[in-house]
Assembly symmetry: C2
Homo-oligomer: 324 residues x 2
Amino acid sequence: MTTFSTRSAVLAALLSTTLASAGAIAQTPSAAASTTPAAKPFQSYSDIVAAAPADAWRTPDPQNIIYVEIAGGRVVIEVAPTVAPSHVANIRALIREQYFDGLPIKRAQDNYVVQWGTPDGQPPRAKKAAKSNLQPEFVRKLSRSEFGAFAFDRLPDIDGYAPQVGFAGGFHAGRDPKASEVWLAHCYGAVGVGRGNAIDSAAGEELYVVTGHAPRHLDKNVTLIGRVLQGMPLLSSLPRGTGPLGFYDKPSQFTHIKSIRVAADVAPPERTDLEVIRTDTPTFQRAVEALRNRGGDWFKVPAGHVELCNVPIAVRVPPVKAMK
Amino acid sequence: MTTFSTRSAVLAALLSTTLASAGAIAQTPSAAASTTPAAKPFQSYSDIVAAAPADAWRTPDPQNIIYVEIAGGRVVIEVAPTVAPSHVANIRALIREQYFDGLPIKRAQDNYVVQWGTPDGQPPRAKKAAKSNLQPEFVRKLSRSEFGAFAFDRLPDIDGYAPQVGFAGGFHAGRDPKASEVWLAHCYGAVGVGRGNAIDSAAGEELYVVTGHAPRHLDKNVTLIGRVLQGMPLLSSLPRGTGPLGFYDKPSQFTHIKSIRVAADVAPPERTDLEVIRTDTPTFQRAVEALRNRGGDWFKVPAGHVELCNVPIAVRVPPVKAMK
């Protein structure tokens, strides 16, 4: 039995790389069994985040929070108007026209994406103010001075897909100083805009969420608008579509979207209050360092590296709310 | 409607990064609309794999194929005795003692792993010939001459977690020429051996499968024994456990393993015949190049790079079997 309780403690050290959702921040490996009792116990990402001061957290603007309501519950998305301003504005317009309400999640491709929108073969719904075509925002192209002023919390490690990677506005991102470009990265939970072959062929009516290993080759080829803060399991555990590319063969397999709403339009008692860890603080830097060189009783060989999409951006219920 | 048929064609170009399972190899983007009609149409990974000659495929040894039978169907695993010989031998012994039959999948942590074994708080089952502790095989340590002779099909691109990455025996792998070490990599579908804090605390009774973004920081810290060839959706779409680290709170949430068998012990008509693309051929090199620089009508900016875990190792039903 000793072996198995040890094992339980240690499976805890197989630390989550998931989006750390409120209430699910991973347990800390016990440091009690350290062989060097005088040494300071290793503090994991979760330890550091759990002890982070109040000002290490930010509260997203409710204009930038979107609720996707499905049978299983609510998926909470934060959008990034600083990187994709025209798509975010148009998606807010679509939401306010109730464009998405009743449309299906029509695709769930294993290790890739889920996607919702008009079923193939049906005409797109009529729109009022929202647009049907937009110039792409695959990257945010900036002037040299704008680029210098655009906040970017850089990771220290190499990346194969971008000259530099880190966090833009608190989202996983890449950037290219030579081209003065910033873009969101296709990490787990990223939300993007499906498009046709033409780069201006879409405007947000078809959205997808990354549910598998980061398809970073899509970066700079499609407009990303944000990421899921809470509710990923509602999407990632959907039955996989058995048609080509994970599309559902039959409408009976669809999961329907009850509604999509901007949090600002939802009565405060109905909102999901969440805080997101800031990526521009010494606390977050320490947390990243704890991912680059994991310690504690379980890890034997620190990687000396962390890949962009292996850095969770922690989310929590604000402590006051949590105590209610 | 034109827009939407275009869009369908193009969503097809959001090419699968999943384990290309038999019958699910992704459709090819049409090259009909190419603006340079004289140019040779782009051949995608899927195109190249679909047209690969018979000798670009290998048939795994049935001694290295494991069937995990659960209510939803069969999960097919290929093990890698060249990298983890003693763990593979012990897992075969456990299987032949029917050690796993009836044990539960007790953990499904979003964007991380599923895991099966003895439920916490229960004593481990009795074993006959199989061992309970083994020296770790986190890496395969080789002599300099063995290292030179150990087949490794290297990828050309950089990697943050290993000096070199590629394929060892047809499995995603890293290696370190200075240390003469080779190890399997924690890509989607990788199968590993859960352990306690002590590096020799396990011998294969607890197995996990990676169901999320590659947790490459686990490389060299735990023994990997192989990867799933077919059936990932049976594991990856399981309801997520709501206990800490994705463990199920209640036994009623468990998915039970009906049986685990070595394919060689299963009557041939009951086997799942699969072929795996060889990683040591010019065909595979071309397929990898098509991932590094994606073309066709949809992709606008090739990455000039492919990360190890974004290279699928295609699997198919042998053509003769498929025609039956």
